[in-house]
Each structure stands twice: as C-alpha cells, then as structure tokens.
C-alpha cells in the first residue's frame, strides 16, 4: 500500500522535474536534492526525509516530456518514488526503466493527494475511492531490463557473454 503525495496535470517536462540549471550535477547520488526544485513545496517535502519509500506521484499525459537528461529519473529514483501517469514521454520512460525508477502507465488513473493505492501486476486499486484501473505493461525487453536490476547489469551481462 502506498500513498499519493502529489498530483500533476499533463505535460510535466524534465525542466520541471529537474531544472536545467542543476545539470552540471550528474551523479545519481547527488541529484535527489534538486527534484522539482521550482515546485518549492514538493521539493521541501521530498528533502524533509519524511516521505516513505514507494510514495506515489500522479502525472497526467506525456509525463517527462522534453530533454533526455537522465537526472530527471535519478532524482526521483533517489527518493524511491513511484510515478503513475496516463502515459510517459519516450526517453523519460526508457531512462526510468534503465535506472530502476518505478513507472506505471495507467491511462484512466484517478487519484488525489492522500489516496491510498495498491499496485498489482496489471491493475492499480484506489482503496480510498474504491475503484480499479488497468495498467499497460512495459514491453518484454523492458521487463527483462527491470528484472536484471537496470540497464547497467543487463548490459554487463551482454558484455561478458560477448567477450567469451
């Protein structure tokens, strides 16, 4: 069971998730501080260290649109968030899979701040509203990457296989 801590509308860009002026900071261990830096309340909440792991942010359509900056995923992964959105922008979605940020594609999702959600393999159940929504699964290769623990171990395995 996880709680919704914030709800966004459509087209949340990587400039909102991780503003360009922090892009010289690249290491995944250093990016979480700047998550949603210009959404002051949310940034403060995340940095307060009071948000439990697997807390949920709800997005609308096209979440993560804009730049390819991977910091936008590592910053959210650092706070161990789950992002549920109607759909995601391509590069953001692939980056999140590569880095192990949990993303759920749920076209009809309806949830508000403080709602409690249960995420199963193919459904999101909103306990507060008593409603259930279907999930669009990630592709087979994406699931393999997730299961391998991200693209780094996945590619490492391929590298070792290839060098034999």
């Amino acid at each position: 069971m996880s709680k919704v801590i914030y709800k966004f509308g459509d087209d949340i860009s990587t400039d909102i998730i991780y503003p360009g002026r922090f892009m010289a900071t690249v290491l995944p261990s250093e990016t979480p501080e700047f998550a949603f830096a210009d959404e002051k309340d949310l940034n403060k909440l995340l940095n307060s260290k009071t948000v439990p792991a697997d807390s949920i942010i709800i997005g609308g359509k096209n979440f993560g649109c804009g730049s390819s900056r991977e910091q936008a995923c590592s910053t959210l992964k650092g706070h161990e968030l789950i992002i549920i959105a109607k759909n995601f922008a391509r590069i953001f979605l692939q980056n999140s899979i590569n880095l192990g940020l949990k993303t759920v594609i749920c076209p009809d999702i309806d949830a508000d701040v403080n709602d409690e959600l249960e995420i199963s393999e193919d459904k999101v159940f909103n306990k507060t509203k008593g409603k259930e929504y279907n999930i669009i699964p990630h592709t087979k290769t994406q699931q393999e990457i997730i299961q391998a623990g991200g693209l780094i171990p996945y590619s490492r395995k391929r590298l070792i296989e290839g060098s034999k």
Binding site: R21, A24, L27, N62, G66, S68, I91, Q94, N98, L151
Partner: protein, 430 residues
C-alpha cells in the same frame, strides 16, 4: 513488402531484410553523439565494466562524437572539471570526432554533426540529447537517448530494445510567403497535433515545399519534431542532401540514398498548405500552445534571442540582418545572437552580418547553447518575457521559472527586436 524509410534503415542495421512495425530490434549504431553529459555516460560506462575484469574500451572510437556546447566556455568549476575529465577519457579512448572549445571547430552538437559530414542518409544515429531528431534532416534515423543507454551503446555498439516505430507522413505543398519560414511550418504542425501527438512515432516529411527547402530549414523542422513527442523527424535524402554533404561538409565518397515506398504503411497522413501559413508563435509554457502572430502582436518583449540548434544558422542570421538593417533595437529590449557554430560565426562576420546587428545594438555571443537552456548566459529576470528562435518554452527554460518564453522564427524575432513588441515581419515592408 512495402516499407517506410525507418523500417528499411532498421532492417539494414539489424541484419534483416524486413522488419514489421512494432517489432523489437537491436540495430547497430552508426554514430553515437554526446555533449557535456558525456561525463555521466563515462561514469555509467565504467560501471558496466566494473567487476568484469575487462579493460573498458569503447566499441568503436570512430563512431563516437563528443561536442562541448552546453556550457562553453565553462561557467563554473564543476563544469570545467567535468570537461577536463571528458578530455582525458577522449584521449585515452582515441575518439577523434571531438569538438572542444575552439573558435575554429566548436559549435552546437546538432550543427556540428551535419556540418562535418558525420551523419549520412540511412544511418542509425543516437545522441544523449533529445534534439538528436535534427539529423533526420539528412535522411538518417536519429533519436535521443539517456546517458545510461549511451553507456550501453559505447559498450556493445547496438541499441537494445528499439521498437520499430509507426510513421506519420506529413506532406507540405505550396510556396511559403516572404518571411514565413520553415520554423512556422513545424510550429503550426506541433500546435495541430499537440506535444504528445507523435509520441513513440516518427514524422516523415514530404511534398514540394520540403523538396525545395535547404538542409538548414529541414534541420529546423526535424529538430522540433521531438516537441510533438516524435522519436524522430525524417526527410528522405535527395539531391539537396548530397549537395549539402558535398559542398558544406566536403564529403567525397558515395552517398547512397534511402526512401520510403509509396504504399508503405503510414499511421496517418497530414497535409499542410504552406502558401496559406502566417508566422506562428509558441506561447508560454508549452510548445504546442501555438498562436498566429496576429493573436499576440503587441506583447512587450524584454529579450530577443536568435540562435540555437533550431535557428542559429547563417540563413537565420542573414534574415535577421536583412530586416534589422538601418534600424535600431528598441529601447528596453536586448537582443542576443549566438551562432550555431564557429564556421557560421566566421561566415556571418565575413558577410558583414555582425556589423549590421551590432550597429543596431545586438550582442553577439560565442557559438554554443547559451540562453537556450538558461544555465550559462542570457537568463531572464523575474516577470520578464523573451521571444526566441529556440525550441522550448517550458517554465524555467531560460533560467527563471518566473519568466515567460515565446518561440518564433528568425524573421519574427528580428522584426520584434526593432519594435520591442511581438511584430509580424510580413507586414511593415522589410
């Protein structure tokens, strides 16, 4: 079986004769581009090698290009140190398609790749930058990826997990009116199909307007295809592509062309009549919030920006000079010009374009990304408005979430610089 150009490119690169839309393929990469974010790619690349006992060597140093452009010359200790680490890595790995901070060779990555002939029709190009879609202008399948994905490409030489994308065919016919530009075509299209209208799809551009368009204009259009969510934009290579690669990039070897089959399977077909278009403006804070110039005419502008990988080429600077010649930039408006490459900078200097712009009051900055991403130069003050030839107007894009960015062509930017308010360049007899 009939195929789109991207199906053909992906089939060739994955060693197949045919691929279906939706198939997951592993294409070989012909060119892998990074900019300053190579610092993160390097970090992830070394992570992949960790514990393997293997010597970390990139798969093919000839196929990697690294261009410093986002923060040049470095604005901070952190950036300068990252750039230094990248230089060391480049030397160790023997990567020679490297463009450092040098007046003769520098430039924005999406200008350098075509200008130096690193991209060819039919190539699979990936870059750690979302506007890597630009190189579709030369008939390549070219798209943006993240840094970890790039580390995987540096290691394996292939892109894992590429779904063969569906294609939207956009056919543009008719002649553009004077001072209506390729930028207006792509802004119009984005406004029509929205910021997610081409998500996970490719936009293929056809029609006489595109055929008659210079490679520079095609780059503008493919560059901004990503603002409609597209994986890539693509203009099948033609005589213009060959001419550009020969004359501009000095390519001497054979340049084979690839094209779509007429009866290939298209997701949809959109027709645009270019002759009826007027200048377009993307209003704050999304690129698909597109209006006709007349709807926002008179909006007061604090900063005009001409530059970026979208519209910082010689033709853009020429258009601006043509309009501004003999005028002064309005009081209380500042105009920043940042050419897309050192070569363009020199050409603009030699053609007297800088003289015209400087006499009018413009500031000419060094080639690079500059104000486009707002980390380095040209940030906006609280409550200010910018009118810019760049490609994004998201909140905070020009360094300040309490400011607004409007996007337009070089012609609109120049006409508006004179008046200090958003102005239609097709009126006013420039």
């Amino acid at each position: 079986m009939k195929q789109t150009i991207v199906q053909k490119i992906l089939a060739r690169a994955s060693g197949k004769s045919f691929v279906n839309i939706g198939d997951i393929v592993e294409p070989k990469v012909d060119l892998a581009m990074s900019h300053e974010n190579a610092a993160l790619v390097m970090n992830q690349f070394l992570e992949i090698y960790k514990g393997t006992g293997l010597d970390p060597k990139v798969w093919d140093p000839n196929k990697i290009a690294i261009i410093f452009d986002h923060r040049v010359p470095a604005e901070s200790r952190k950036t300068a140190t990252n750039q230094k680490k990248i230089r060391n890595f480049i030397a160790e790995q023997g990567i020679f398609k490297f463009h450092d901070i040098r007046g003769d060779e520098m430039g924005i990555c999406h200008q350098i790749l075509p200008q130096y002939g690193y991209v060819r029709p039919g190539y699979v190009v990936v870059g750690t930058d979302s506007h890597t879609t630009s190189h579709g202008a030369l008939g390549a399948f070219s798209f943006g990826i993240g840094a970890t994905e790039m580390a995987s490409v540096w290691t394996l030489g292939v892109m894992l997990n590429v779904p063969v994308p569906p294609t939207i065919k956009v056919v543009v016919n008719g002649a553009l009116k004077k001072y209506v530009q390729p930028k207006d075509i792509i802004l119009y299209l984005i406004g029509k199909i929205t910021a997610e209208g081409a998500n996970f799809k490719v936009i293929e551009f056809h029609g006489e307007t595109i055929r008659n368009m210079s490679t520079s204009g095609r780059i503008t259009i493919c560059n901004m295809s990503v603002e409609a969510g597209a994986t890539s934009g693509i203009v099948p290579g033609d005589e213009e592509t060959i001419k550009y690669l020969r004359e501009e990039a000095g390519v001497t070897e054979d340049i084979p062309l690839v094209n779509s089959d007429d009866e290939a399977e298209f997701d949809k077909i959109i027709e645009i009549d270019a002759s009826s278009l007027v200048p377009q403006i993307a209003c704050p804070h999304t690129v698909d919030n597109v209006k006709q110039v007349g709807d926002v005419e008179g909006t007061k502008i604090d900063q005009i920006v001409i530059g970026s990988c979208t519209n910082g080429r010689l033709d853009d600077l020429e258009t601006a000079a043509q309009i501004i010649k003999g005028h002064k930039i309005a009081k209380n408006t500042r105009m920043l010009v940042f050419p897309a490459s050192g070569k363009i900078y020199r050409q603009a200097m030699e053609k007297g374009i800088f003289e015209i712009l400087m006499n009018a009051g413009a500031v000419i900055a060094n080639p690079g990304c500059g104000p486009c991403l707002g980390v380095h130069q040209g940030a906006l003050g609280d409550g200010e408005k910018a009118l810019s030839t760049t490609n994004r107007n998201f909140k905070g894009r020009m360094g300040n979430p309490d400011a607004e960015v409007y996007l337009c062509s070089a012609a609109v930017a120049a006409a508006s610089a004179i008046t200090g308010v958003i102005t239609d360049p097709t009126k006013g007899g420039y």
